[in-house]
């Protein structure tokens, strides 16, 4: 980046910080748009799913067309690589002109980056499309793992845990945790979960917590060391009971969500789960899963959260990054993401806040062959406080990390 552009970014960054959350008046956004024009935004995002990669390319084409912003998708195998880059830049004293402009981020990385002051913000609440976000109906858009986002990240999609099964071989799936428990015991080797500390594996443990704890409300506060062991005992009892009946007798676990999905596609397991309710439909559309795959949720609800984008404190193209974050919240883009043929991601917007013609974009969408309607998806259970999962992930490794 040359010195003049650096100066401009610094000035506008300063201006943004001064304006804070109330910067959304048209004037300042016009300035951001003007500055963003001809910028190239480097969006570091997981690149393991071609459907998502194609969608990011689509956002890039729209950004070019509407705002003259070029979007480069830096495909990562792990979000931690982008976090490591930002941290190395800070360690080397590089406080501006950083390589990462935008990160697709999840709760744990967000908490870590925010705690180390590696994020730019608050910016999300100043985006022109922010008023459309359903912060009341979908509280997960402003709380990430019980941590208030405070405008340091902007949501782009809703996620909710759904289970997947093949209706050809299993017409009636178990719809409660105890029914799932019985099914696992009756069908040894046909169920497993990604190995913690993988986030989907931990999500399954959270789901078990909700189903086994006497009072799941304790999950919303930080853990109390005094009562922790007693509170958590039902989780270990549940796992101790099902482990001998898991895939490979729990002597091996799939690495992550894609690896679990592959086991379902290969027919090695009978029930799988995913964090995107539209995943199965999109995979069926892509021809990688048979059209007999269906999804279901457990009675009482399943864990849900939102995906976010954040801007590092030293991003070289902050204006462009905000333009992209705003564009992602555009009703047309959100509707495209929810289309079961592309991604099947649930929107973060409040449909009642949309203009009639934008609303029509969502009404025109059909559910995919395997996707549940919002009503059938049932209640969303909130993510527990992050301290629970840190401790449980550690304890899981202590208990089960070395195969007997």
């Amino acid at each position: 980046m040359n010195r003049r552009r650096f100066g401009k970014t610094a000035v506008s960054t300063f201006a943004l910080m001064m304006l804070g959350p109330r910067m959304a008046h048209a004037g300042s956004w016009e300035a951001i748009l003007a500055e963003a024009k001809d910028q190239t935004v480097y969006w570091h995002a997981w690149g393991g799913d071609t459907k998502i990669n194609d969608f990011i390319a689509f956002i890039g084409a729209e950004a070019q067309k509407r705002h003259g912003v070029t979007l480069e998708h830096v495909k990562l195998a792990s979000t931690a690589d982008a976090v490591a880059r930002v941290r190395a830049e800070r360690d080397a004293g590089q406080t501006s002109g950083g390589a990462v402009d935008l990160i697709w981020i999840n709760g744990e990385n967000f908490a870590a980056m925010k705690a180390q002051d590696l994020l730019f913000g608050p910016y999300a609440e100043g985006l022109p499309n922010w008023p459309l976000v359903d912060t009341k109906g979908k509280p997960a858009t402003v709380t990430d793992f019980t941590l208030p986002t405070e405008g340091y990240e902007s949501p782009w999609a809703m996620a909710q845990l759904v289970f997947e099964h093949d209706s050809a071989t299993l017409p009636e799936p178990p719809r409660t945790l105890s029914a799932l428990h019985d099914w696992i015991k009756a069908n040894p080797g046909r169920f497993t979960y990604p190995q913690p500390p993988d986030y989907l594996g931990l999500t399954f443990l959270k789901q078990v917590l909700y189903g086994t704890l006497a009072d799941p409300a304790v999950l919303q506060s930080p853990i109390d060391p005094a009562s922790y062991e007693a509170t958590i005992a039902p989780l270990w009892a549940f796992l101790d009971d099902i482990h001998p009946s898991l895939w490979r007798e729990a002597k091996a676990f799939p690495e992550n969500e894609p690896a679990l999905g592959l086991l379902l596609a290969d027919g090695e397991i009978g029930i799988s789960f995913a964090f995107n309710p539209g995943r199965a439909s999109a995979e069926i559309a892509a021809g990688t899963l048979p059209d007999t795959i269906q999804t279901f949720v457990l009675e009482g609800g399943t864990i849900g959260n939102a995906s976010f984008v954040a801007i590092p404190f030293n991003a070289a193209h902050m204006a462009g990054a905000q333009v992209i974050a705003n564009l992602i919240l555009d009703p047309a883009i959100q509707a495209a993401a929810q289309d079961p043929a592309t991604l099947g991601f649930q929107t973060v917007l409040n449909l009642d806040a949309l203009t009639p013609e934008d609303r029509a974009r969502f009404d025109a969408l059909t559910l995919g062959p395997a996707t549940l309607s919002p009503a059938d998806l049932g209640p969303v259970l909130l993510e527990p406080h992050a301290s629970w999962m840190v401790k449980i992930a550690e304890d899981w490794v202590q208990r089960y990390g070395v195969a007997k």
């Binding site: 393991g48 190395a88 908490a111 290969d266 027919g267 070395v402």
Partner: protein, 544 residues
């Protein structure tokens, strides 16, 4: 000359050491219940796979070098060598998994399996699948290294003498040629041992995960989203370094003990010709298994890149489609070009450095001090080594450009170029240079017109090996390129984190194609240069 390399290596090392010493890393490491098993796994899979790979390589050369099939096997080596480790592992995994290709071929008609059986074949706690995968991948490497060294061992004449004394083919080889061959093969063997103990790509796919090997666990800690485990990872990296050093010491001790056996055998006078047939059979079986395993694994991935829905127990996909390729095509052309450019520049740079250092050594007759520094990047876990390198690059103002990436690749390419080149370079018959010098030829002319030209084959092989290593680099490209530099491998690794076999198949084929081109040139060019110098080719073909 090589001191210039000391800086990045020292920076990488410092990047590893600093967090390990500052934090509570060692305490956390000791607290990890998987530590003893992970250490045993790293040591066991590393040592056993190296031992097996070496034994198979030696056996194949000793028992089969003058058999007709050997030339064909040699030709197959280069593309196998160019295969990225992760792709090889995924190919093998799809072959042998309970829902894999072999099971699909025999199901349900022979096995009665309608759904995949629940068998722990991959990720077995002993690391057997990982060990076999490493053997399959390392035999081609050791073989290529051995073939580059053989011309210096005077194999044909020694073999003839041993045969004329009535020794069997294998016994004659072991007694007269193996000592010379092994001397040159030692460093590549050490590299294989270090790789076997520190690799992450193959261990993630084939290795156990309760607990995983130490290198995989270090990578997990580095990738931990809460950033709390960086000191633990750094402490693990130091333990890893010590473990590799211990394994090398163990190997050296074993060498000391075993070396006197060969003269002892020789003085015993046992001709052992009866062993030739069974050993040839054994070597042939191994060669066949490795070629078949890697070949079928690749074929499986290639088929996946054209597959529509492909479910267990179908032996073949239900439908074939070009969708995967047509969707990926636009990006792939540009990425292939970038990859090729980086690989060529980095390996040429490494070659120039290695040649300069070796020639300086030859002229001054003093061995290069601190040459071991070159090998550090081989035995350090990349994930712990790179942050230090990255901070150094940022300090000197090198931001994500192709040049930064090339410089980083140089650090990792140089050891392999050195390994492939140094033995042949040092083994060159110095009397030729002496004769030329007596006739008044200046040293520079001796180097360019005699030494370099006569070593054309190993030089080109070193270049090809270097390119293959460069093509395979993921983390250095990503981290030092700041995401600005896209290569086939950054694309392939990002995609493979999604487990999409179709795309992995497509990118793996391309990743393999680029270095394979280099290896093909390394085979063909010497034939062109030496078309009027039959003895040069004859010396090489003696290795057959």
């Amino acid at each position: 000359m090589l001191a210039g390399l000391g800086l990045p290596i020292a920076a990488g090392l410092a990047g590893t050491l600093a967090p390990a010493l500052s934090g509570h890393g060692f305490a956390a490491l000791m607290d990890w219940p998987g530590l003893p098993r992970a250490l045993a796994l790293s040591l066991g899979t590393g040592l056993v796979s190296t031992l097996l790979a070496l034994a198979i390589t030696v056996l194949m050369i000793g028992a089969l070098h003058d058999r007709p099939g050997f030339v064909a096997f040699r030709r197959m080596l280069s593309p196998l060598l160019a295969l990225p480790h992760a792709a090889a592992a995924l190919g093998l995994a799809f072959l042998v998994a309970p829902s894999g290709w072999i099971a699909r071929l025999f199901s349900p008609w022979a096995t009665g399996w309608d759904t995949a059986p629940d068998l722990l074949i991959l990720n077995d706690p002993m690391g057997l699948a990982l060990t076999l995968g490493l053997v399959a991948k390392e035999v081609p490497f050791l073989m290529l290294m051995a073939l580059a060294i053989l011309p210096q061992t005077d194999m044909a004449r020694r073999g003839q003498i041993a045969a004329s004394l009535g020794y069997g083919r294998v016994a004659g080889f072991v007694l007269s040629i193996l000592p010379a061959l092994y001397r040159g093969l030692r460093l590549p063997v050490f590299a294989v041992l270090a790789y076997g103990m520190t690799n992450v790509d193959m261990a993630m796919i084939l290795g156990p995960n309760l607990p995983p090997s130490l290198a995989v666990q270090i990578t997990d800690w580095m990738g931990d989203p809460s950033l709390q485990h960086v000191p633990t990872a750094a402490a693990g990296a130091l333990v890893q370094l010590a473990l590799v050093a211990a394994a090398l010491a163990l190997w050296l001790a074993a060498e000391r003990i075993l070396a006197p056996l060969i003269p002892a055998l020789a003085s015993h006078g046992y001709r052992a010709w009866g062993w030739d047939a069974p050993l040839a059979g054994l070597a042939g079986t191994w060669a066949g298994l490795i070629a078949l395993g890697l070949g079928a694994g690749m074929a499986g991935l290639a088929l996946w890149s054209f597959a529509g829905l492909w479910q267990f127990p179908d032996a073949l996909p239900q439908s074939l489609t070009l969708q995967t390729w047509t969707k990926a095509a636009p990006d792939l052309a540009q990425q292939s070009l970038t990859t090729l450019m980086i690989a060529l520049t980095a390996s040429l740079g490494a070659l120039a450095l290695a040649l300069a250092a070796l020639e300086a050594e030859a002229r001054s007759c003093r061995p290069i001090g601190a040459a071991w520094l070159i090998y550090l990047p081989l035995i350090m876990p990349q994930v712990a080594f790179l942050p230090g390198l990255q901070v150094l690059a940022l300090y000197v103002g090198a931001k994500g450009s192709v040049a930064t990436v090339i410089a980083a690749h140089l650090v990792f390419v140089l050891p392999y170029v050195w390994l492939s080149l140094a033995p042949a370079f040092r083994g060159w018959d110095g009397r030729i240079g002496l004769a030329a010098a007596c006739m008044g030829t200046p040293p520079a002319r001796i180097f360019w017109r005699l030494r370099l030209l006569m070593l054309a084959a190993p030089v080109l092989t070193a270049l090809a090996v270097g390119s293959a290593v460069s093509v395979g680099q993921y983390l250095p490209t990503l981290m030092l390129g700041g995401g600005r530099v896209e290569t086939l491998t950054t694309e392939a690794v990002a995609l493979s984190s999604g487990g999409n076999r179709r795309l992995i198949g497509a990118t793996a084929l391309l990743q393999m194609a680029l270095p394979a081109l280099g290896f093909a040139l390394a085979l063909i060019v010497p034939r062109v240069i030496f078309r009027n110098r039959r003895a040069m080719l004859a010396e090489r073909s003696a290795a057959r």
